[in-house]
Amino acid sequence: MKNTLTIARREIQAYFVSPIAYVVAAAFLAIMGYFFAMILYYSREATMRYTLGNMTTVLLFVAPILTMRLLAEEQRMGTIELLLTAPVNDWEVVLGKFLGSLTLYACMLGVSLYFPFVLSIVGNPDFGPIVSGYLGMLLLGGALLSLGVLTSSLTQNQIVSAVLGVVLIVLLWLVGALGDVTGAPLSGVFQYLALSEHFYDFFKGVIDTKDVLYYLSVIGAALFLATRVLETRRWR
């Protein structure tokens, strides 16, 4: 665990000195701010529900950009061999990288708390749904980042990693529609598998253990697979 945290800290430092992280964060916040202001203007409702709902689509593209460098760059530079031969487990490397990106994302969400803060000044928002909404954003983001870590483990090229990430996420996002074609009973399975089917409740103000577990499962599965992929370097 100590190793994991060391790797995470190293990644966070790398993020905060690179301009890319700031550009991505600024773009994310600019889009969110625009959604927020426009939705407030048209709906006149003190809620974050619709803003967060719209941001999920943006997140789909932001997450792979945040993670594209993580393992791909190490493989291109050959530094991954150093990491893998160091006295750390492969899973500690993967988890550390993931936690690094998750921390950056959490910081972005943290800055975006400015929007509910504005709501609390000009109106009287219900804070329950805001809390659950942000929890949902964190879990969804975590799932997307972990999928990004997985695709980053597959290639040495950052751009390929990002594109693969978007493709994988979009497929998992829309897999629920397959259910409409196959019909019951498979439709339920496909719908359950879809990333997009599990955040509505968070945004409306309801936390359900099964949605929490779903996102944690995606994170677990993606990181596990990424570890297996890294492992192949030992015997390939």
Binding site: A25, G33, Y41, A46, Y192, G205, F224
Partner: protein, 505 residues
Amino acid sequence: MMRERLSRWSNTLAYAGLFAIAAGLVAALFMGKMGWVPGAILAVGAVLLVAAALGRPAEVRRALTGRRARYGSNAVAMSLILLAILALVNFLANRHHARWDLTSAKQYSLSSQTIQILKDLKEPIKITAFFSPADSAQATLKDLLAEYTYHTDKLSVEFVDPDQKPAVARQYGITSYGTIVFERGARRQDTFGTDEQSITSAILKVSRDEQKGIYFLTGHKERDPEGYADDGFSAIKALLEKNNYKVGTLNLAMTSTIPSDTAALVVAGPQTAYAEDERQTLATYLNGGGKLMVLLDPASGVDLNSVLETYGVRFRNDLVVDIYSSFFGDPLTPLTARYPYSMITKDMTGLTSFFPYARSIERLGTAPEGATITDLVTTSDQSWGETNLTQRQVQKDAADTPGPLTLVAQVQKGKTRLVLVGDSDFAANNVLNSVRGAFGNADLFVNAINWLAEEESLIAIGPKTGDVRTVFLTPSQMRLILYSSALVLPAMVLFVGLLVWWRRR
């Protein structure tokens, strides 16, 4: 010799084999099933692959038993095991899960009554909601029904856009947006309300086994619930059946026994007078807590006032004239949207209804002990009740009753319930079929029957106030929010990034 040739062509054979297998799978995908054509292509591919493998036996053996194969299959097996565990955990968690409603109004928490009713459901119920996607009520209903389905697996929900799937809407006989149909087997129950009270009541009604009977009296040229002609009541019968009632007829001249499953009797526009015995049967039925709906047209020569006066109401012998608010300018067809509050009219705000050739209803001096009389539909202040039905020129005379006049009234006395309507044309086939859902006539009839059958308060769930937190902003506040959110905040982040980059340079 053979082997040498095979080994030389091994690569080509392998590629051809893989290509054939891919083609076979694509063919199967397009045909939607595994027919013999894709099957044959797949078989060819398999043969080619085997041939390729035979050409290089040593390599194949190494690939199957070598170090890479061992590690590789190990990694695949571990991944499959993990995925299987996750699938199992998620499957279990999906069946046993907990939910927390964080909204301060507990908007998404169903009442304990509803939860109990859902737990007691024995048979599957199918809910089909006909909404236009632009309707905001659809989103609200979706949220609510999602909560219902979390408590039971007996409910299945489908939203249908009647413009996208007109055939489905026609099949269900849907005439207006916002209709929600509940089905259990052949039983059906329609509702329009999108609140918990309406949904739970509809579930209760459709899951009930016995059907309540609505009996139309016959024998005096009343409106016929089987009649498909313009003046028939078959449209009303269909509506009542959609609301899970059994509709029948009853001739009081043949029997004085009211069927035991009777929820309400309907006297629908008789044209010949009832005999003394029949009126006596009605009076006895009412006295014992009966439910009766009386639709009586002007100048029909039928007098039921002797029965009704016990309850403080009677039909006036007049013809309602309303030149200010009438259907397409016909002063003898009053059109009104005036519904004093009652259980029958509470959901009819904004709906107009009209009554071709109607008479008005009169309250007698003081209401009898224990009786509450409520006007349900009234005409405009400028209307009047014309008492001289033979005069040529229609005008307001001193003998006429000044408006507003009561067209529909309800009476409740103990368990006895009465609804009086001074018209029977308003619910006839030609009216209901020509105006469809645009007017409130059908709703009025069905709501009245629901009230008579004591279906209005199957379950009492306090309405949840839609917890909308409105924000009032001045234009300058709005601009400030827009600029600070979409420009200043991201710019500040960029600025910090620039500082960091500068310092590292």
